[in-house]
Symmetry: C2
Subunit: 169 residues, 2 copies
Amino acid sequence: MHYGIAVFPQKHIQDLVNSYRKRYDPHYSLIPPHITLKEKFELSDDRLEDATKRLEEIAKQNKPFTIRFHKVSHFHPTSNTIYLAIKDSEPLKTLHSQINASFDPTELPYDYIPHLTIGQKMSEEELHDVYGTLRLRQFELETKIDRFHLMYQLENGSWSIYQTFLLNK
Amino acid sequence: MHYGIAVFPQKHIQDLVNSYRKRYDPHYSLIPPHITLKEKFELSDDRLEDATKRLEEIAKQNKPFTIRFHKVSHFHPTSNTIYLAIKDSEPLKTLHSQINASFDPTELPYDYIPHLTIGQKMSEEELHDVYGTLRLRQFELETKIDRFHLMYQLENGSWSIYQTFLLNK
């Protein structure tokens, strides 16, 4: 089965981001707005329980934190993705690295840059249009992160929840 | 904020049910296939933590169980909903009743019948057509239930996860 691990920002931010995603993100209806901690990976049923135990340990070792979104950025030309950039993203990088190390650690082909996608798989022209419009806008958004979630992917591409892991309060 | 509480059947059942929901359920892209334990309810932020503690207690008091889906049924004329009917649904009724009692207990206008919706808000004609086609089909589906989930609703009507509660293994 395919799994993924992500955090969700608080509701007011998900609502704002969805107002963009509705137009610019083909994954809009497959999963709510999220920051990926671990990209889609394969996990057999017999390894699931062990994996959740390791994730519980990691959650216990990390404290809740606050992140801020301050501007729009993009991954062009690596991918035609536009996202809200994150200030104070160190705790997300720590979670990512601990989680990644606890599975078969794979060499990622890129550095991990935590981000909140607002558009992806856009045409060149659309990307430049949208980024041109949004790049000067200042965002002052803040969200508490006190949990992460393990999800699995259904046949239709959408994501269903498996388990929440609460950071150590 | 609006919350809801549900269980999700195992993936193979979600995939099967989605093949029907795609055509017959306007909520198809808002939430994965689920059995509702508590319908949408309002909860203020200051009562959230207390609510999750009560849900943790309830989860601890209940053991994982298995349910079976054996046939298609409907709620017509109360509502134009078609669903997979559940055998051995007592543990779901217990969960529903404990959860409902732990919030401001509301008199429901109907008996709680745990079900897995495959179509809803259908026209009379569509309901009769689809039910006519599916009513004679035997289903032999079984799923383990060892957790339930608290979700909240976004502005666009979709549901985002708040927390998983594991039944007492």
